[in-house]
Symmetry: C2
Amino acid sequence: MGTTQLESVPEPKYWHLKTVLTEALDSEFSVGEILPNERDLAARFGVARATLRQALEQLELEGRLQRRRGVGTTVAPPRVGVAVGAEGHTWPGATGDDWQPTDCTDVVPPAAVADLLETEQGEQVHTVRRSRVSQGRPVAAELLYIPHSSVPDLSAIDAPSGAARARAVLRELQHLELEGRDQAVELGSVSAEDAKELDRLPGAPVLVVTTRFHSGGRTAAVSVATYRADTCRLTFGGDIEIHHGPERRAS
Amino acid sequence: MGTTQLESVPEPKYWHLKTVLTEALDSEFSVGEILPNERDLAARFGVARATLRQALEQLELEGRLQRRRGVGTTVAPPRVGVAVGAEGHTWPGATGDDWQPTDCTDVVPPAAVADLLETEQGEQVHTVRRSRVSQGRPVAAELLYIPHSSVPDLSAIDAPSGAARARAVLRELQHLELEGRDQAVELGSVSAEDAKELDRLPGAPVLVVTTRFHSGGRTAAVSVATYRADTCRLTFGGDIEIHHGPERRAS
DNA sequence: CAGTGGTCTAGACCACTTT
DNA sequence: AAGTGGTCTAGACCACTGC
């Protein structure tokens, strides 16, 4: 029994590394600054590169770092607050929202969406693609599902697809009376498609916001919006300003 | 130019693996079923274990798998919807919420929280720890910050700490008039403390919900709640039921 | 072209749960 | 004790960005 148990539960190296790096970021680095490359950092801390990367990955997940292939690792700015639940009760495409429609096609929705829309299996619906830009950066990509029955007066002379048709569909939507809205937020990983639009590699973590729009006692539209989890903080019902890091507090 | 460019952008092995596994989960496995162990799976797909793990990690992130050390990898049930913004305008601790207070102490809050509370630097506030259980599983851990000025009539005869004092502080809170609430959601990784409570390893992804409670023109309390990102879908303003996987749709 | 982060390998050992 | 997932290593090559 002579042995002294200094650490009954030794913490993993990458966890300790993360702590050290966090403190260094708080005290010795400023936003936008470039860190030493991974091979140098690993050597400096005496660990394998894979171990260092495990720590960097977590810090990127927490929005503290930004890594870009071929460029390097930089200190990320504080997350942007993005209003998600506070725009009042308006349809997507109402004047003043900061979404930009890019395309419109007809597809058979995935089963999960068809359930929400209560459409028949195999029934086609309109899909409108939109992208959202905040402070000059792309923050979200959205896919809107709108049953044909929600926009019955869509003019035949409108373009069959593309941004022009997207605007036409959204314009028709405004004629309905919006009765309410449900929202849900969950974690996901970005699809190959959305990855390009969001300037991230496929698989990067995103916050998926599913919104159901109610009108006339049924679901008139469903929106699936994916927000960059590294750079965004979703705000509901107001604007909360949060900073992390002790140095940022006004004296 | 006789060469045929079949794949100008070859997709990573782990990404392809993830696709294959997703399809297998949808068609050949049912909830709770145990997958073969990682070494066997890696051998079966002809990849290194680390590569297989990269695919499993993503699937766990998306809530499709659950991995437990010493046990194995199982197919996860669909995420549970957890109401976050729909309980109406009530204080934490109001009768009927499914949070359970566990402890109460006085601390100097972190700078980010002190900013929200508009307390002086170094000023102590009450902290109430609570945990939330949904369908028999721990889903969230919360730390409530309540300035002394928000509960001025806290009786001196109440316990100085512990669950009893937590209940006393929350009871006093109900006397204030709640004027509004702000919320924000962002991605984080679970602290060592919360990890135990949520039955996850430190660093696991969580959804951090920061709520600010307004009363008398100021911020009367701040809640920082961390929800398990793998098992939770946060709902705002209603109940959306979402399923993934084609086989789950009712015929 | 050099330098960066991203992917992948084949091993080793550790912490944990179950038998 | 056996079997699982978690951590770690030392190396290799690839994809991308800039000069």
